[in-house]
Symmetry: C2
Subunit: 214 residues, 2 copies
């Protein structure tokens, strides 16, 4: 049975994106600093069909998540490119290019029905208009024996956590204080219990893995 | 030269206390769960003049902080007992008892002038009415070669961090989602850069130590 997992980079003060996201700063001011650890790795570059990158513990943790995932669920804004010029165009393909880094079926939560988009390298984008549970069911069927990854954004992650559907949470905690932005945990919520199952650290980031108790 | 250090337990969602603090829940609903890792240790029990407790990595980390500290700075509410019945009585001694766990000089930030209170076991409480920098200077003189610990609450920690006076930050990250409460990092702030210098983990908590870059 596929597990639903969330791998997400946050700042030490709990933000997944900086303040004032827009054309100039798609991830908010300073938001790209949360992902520097990942972008530097060989695993990230391989997924993006690029050479080079560092082979280190961070790369191993990232590669592990990539290898385990057989399907991804993401929000429409994450698909269409965050705050880019196409953010409000439901038919835009966004920023993923011709050969996206997923290499498996991706299910996009949206209010706009649309035909499945097939890209190079094994990535398909299927648009799901009837909510998080049907998206989860479709992703489960597609993932086979592998995991289902939540590709973001924070609001999608929150919805799955609050619905009790999440099995594992891995926070990649960057040694950065953003001071403002979009929080992963907005507060005023009731959350399940967690069990800390693994910590991997490097100078660039601390990988904290939790099992969600049900 | 003494360093100013903050050792503080937070939830994974960034809270240092739960919601609705009051007589029934002095640390807010669920807030005591942030400190379970500490209360279980031999180091904690020794500081509180009690026997027993676990001898583990968590105890070592706690003992290290206790041994390094030569003075503590805290807010008036932290001195007088949070949300207890004495919280608004500036002359109350609060909850620290006859032999408080500090065993060194403590400087209390307050608007109410008051004579120094001398307790058993080496703890004194000196009341500082002219702000965080004079309190820091007094604590520095008292600490000798040791560190100065910030005893909380979150608002006092924030003030020293924002003033650029903090040298080290150690977050004891409990595997708990409180969902609501008092945040360590409230947002809408400009913070200094950090360097991750050490990670120690146990099933109960992850100890994350950062150097504040100046």
């Amino acid at each position: 049975m596929p597990r639903l997992v969330l791998d997400i980079s946050t700042s030490l003060d709990g933000f997944v994106a900086g303040p004032s996201p827009g054309l100039e700063h798609p991830l908010g001011v300073g938001g790209e600093r949360l992902h520097e650890w990942a972008v530097a790795t060989k695993a990230f570059r391989e997924a993006h069909n690029r050479e080079g990158g560092e082979e280190n513990r961070d790369s191993e943790v990232l590669a592990e998540g990539i290898q385990k995932a057989g399907a991804t669920i993401m929000g429409r804004r994450m698909f269409s490119g965050g705050q880019g010029p196409w953010a409000d165009d439901p038919n835009a393909d966004g920023w993923w290019g011709e050969n996206p880094p997923f290499h498996h079926p991706v299910f996009v939560l949206t209010h706009h029905p649309r035909e499945t988009v097939t890209k190079e390298g094994g990535t398909t984008f299927t648009f799901v208009t009837d909510g998080i549970e049907p998206a989860f069911e479709q992703a489960r069927a597609a993932a086979g024996e592998k995991d289902i990854a939540i590709g973001g954004g924070a609001d999608v992650a929150q919805q799955y956590l609050n619905a009790g559907l999440l099995d594992e949470l891995q926070i990649h905690l960057a040694p950065v204080l953003l001071g403002d932005g979009t929080r992963l945990f907005e507060g005023h919520a009731e959350y399940p219990e967690l069990e800390l199952t693994r910590v991997v650290d490097s100078p660039a980031v601390t990988h904290l893995r939790y099992r969600v108790l049900k």
